[in-house]
Amino acid sequence: MTAFAVESCGLTKRFGRQVAVNAVDLAVPRGAVYGFLGPNGSGKTTTIRMLLGLIRPTSGGHALLGERMPGGAATVLPRVGALVEGPGFHPYLSGMDNLRRLDAADRTARAATADARIRAALDRVGLGAAAGKRFRAYSLGMRQRLALAAAMLASRDLLILDEPTNGLDPQGTREVRSLIGALAAEGATVLLSTHLLSEVEQVCSHVGVMHQGNLVAQSTLEDLRAEAAPRARVRTDRPADAARVLRELGLTEVTHDGDSATGVLGPVAPEKAVATLVHDGVPVSGFAVVAADLEEQFVALTGEGFDVSG
């Protein structure tokens, strides 16, 4: 048994001349909640489709839960719950009947326990009351919840969830995040794709960053935070002078605005910076060392911003 729940090697997908996913080496440790982060169109869904065997990689390969795919699909996929590119259900069947159909298709699922498992999954996503409604009458949020219920029909060792909070209201988003936490606490590995940095910060232990088909960073969230260079921020009524002093001290990326100046500390000790500022006659009304937030990290990695709202 390998230590990785998802492992890929050089996974590549070309659509015509466009390279949607380029030599991605994923390594998702067992038990992790792995945030697969990237802006729209960066190749997350395409990667997930390859992981699940829906599309063939142009080159490269991967394993799920230690089994080579796609050869091991029949044995490994029953242990994998998946949500790919939004919900997909028969509109004229009820939520309950849609789940019955999926369960009936699963050769490893026990028919005798089907209704109990379906009920439990529906209750878990808060759809118990709407179980008998036709899918076409569901709101976007309810549809998303039904897709999550489908991913939890059986006990799973791995959940691959593609943008699971899409279309949910803030309350639903919180519920889904706590659901993911609960699944992880039960021992499942979760691969969660998202374009929301806040989502990764709130629920993930690991992160992989996609940018234009490339996996540009992959580590634990902690390591990534530690790499973030700390900045000094000086509050003063003479910000231009403060900025000059910081620059002379060797700080980099120094900027200033109406009432403060900041710069990346680098090897400079904060005490020394304060002492020099005071010594040079710059009045210091406040001084703080702030770690760069992850967003700045990712902007540095991908050269563009993320949608960090919600």
Binding site: R49, L54, R56, A104, R107, E186
Partner: protein, 289 residues
């Protein structure tokens, strides 16, 4: 939770109820309103035939030159309502019913996004095609049997039963007549199963079920059209629909087995070729719907 529990589960082989997925597929087909409405239309045709014949000519044997097959025999025995209805509906209504089912089979699942979820359950692609095709064939048989059954009931109510006078002039008992009607239903199901195989293949080519259905109906019509152009009669025996109307040969005495055998062989060839094509196409296809 999962690791232990999952390990205890058998990796392969059905658990509990056998053919669960096939049953689910059949109920999906049966519960769809569109299919129920279609079946009602199929059943209406023999009733209309029976009433029309009854009202138009209560005594004389109706149907002159050019009238559809079997129509003139109806007043003699109600069984012929079923045969006349089959002869009429095999030309367009039954093929449309099969085309609707087959068009939906793969393209319909792709269209609503359920295909990717079935495949990740996982359902092996070959198994999915097998279940889908079984659903189409079952639908074809139920459609044919519905036409025959409604025709039989309407005919018996309005015209009564009794001995059946065959086209060749000989007479058989009602029991054997019913047996031959069943054989005709099975023969037509085989013919429609060939169309269903073509349809299943077409359905793997697109994500638009309506488009697939229309294409399948057009294949069927094209076959009829080519079949009436005498200049290409060398082609006729190979056409999808060429042997369909030979179901009447099952009503001769003795039965004319040769055309029936040809019809079954032709259907088998179409089924083998187009199921293989569907398998080759769908097995390798990227599912991006």
């Amino acid at each position: 939770m999962s690791a232990v529990e999952v390990a205890a589960r058998p990796a392969t082989g059905g658990v509990g109820v056998p053919f669960r997925f096939l049953r689910s597929e059949l109920s999906l087909i049966a519960r769809r309103r569109r299919n129920q409405a279609g079946l009602a239309v199929l059943a209406a045709v023999p009733i209309v035939i029976a009433i029309a014949v009854k009202v138009a000519s209560p005594t004389s044997a109706g149907g002159g030159e050019g009238a559809p097959q079997f129509l003139s025999s109806i007043s003699g025995n109600g069984l012929f309502v079923a045969l006349a209805a089959l002869a009429l509906e095999i030309q367009l209504f039954l093929p449309i019913a099969v085309a609707a089912l087959a068009g939906d089979a793969v393209a319909g699942e792709a269209n609503v996004g359920t295909l990717r979820y079935l495949l990740t359950v996982p359902v092996h692609r070959t198994r999915l095609l097998a279940v889908k095709y079984a659903g189409i064939v079952a639908g074809a048989f139920i459609a044919t049997a519905t036409v025959a059954g409604t025709g039989l009931v309407a005919g018996l109510v309005l015209f009564g039963g009794g001995d059946v006078t065959l086209l060749s002039g000989t007479t058989i008992g009602m029991g054997e007549g019913l047996l031959r009607l069943l054989a005709i239903c099975l023969y037509l199901t085989a013919c429609l199963a060939a169309l269903g195989a073509v349809g299943l293949f077409v359905s793997t080519l697109t994500e638009q079920p309506m488009g697939a259905t229309i294409a399948i109906v057009m294949v069927n019509m094209l076959s009829w059209i080519l079949g009436v152009i005498p200049q290409i009669d060398w082609l006729h025996p190979y056409l999808l629909t060429h042997w369909w109307e030979n179901f009447g040969d099952l009503l001769r005495d003795p039965v004319a087995w040769d055309p029936v055998r040809h019809g079954l062989l032709s259907a088998a060839a179409y089924i083998v070729i187009f199921l293989s094509a569907a398998w080759a196409r769908f097995g390798a296809r990227d599912v991006t719907s």
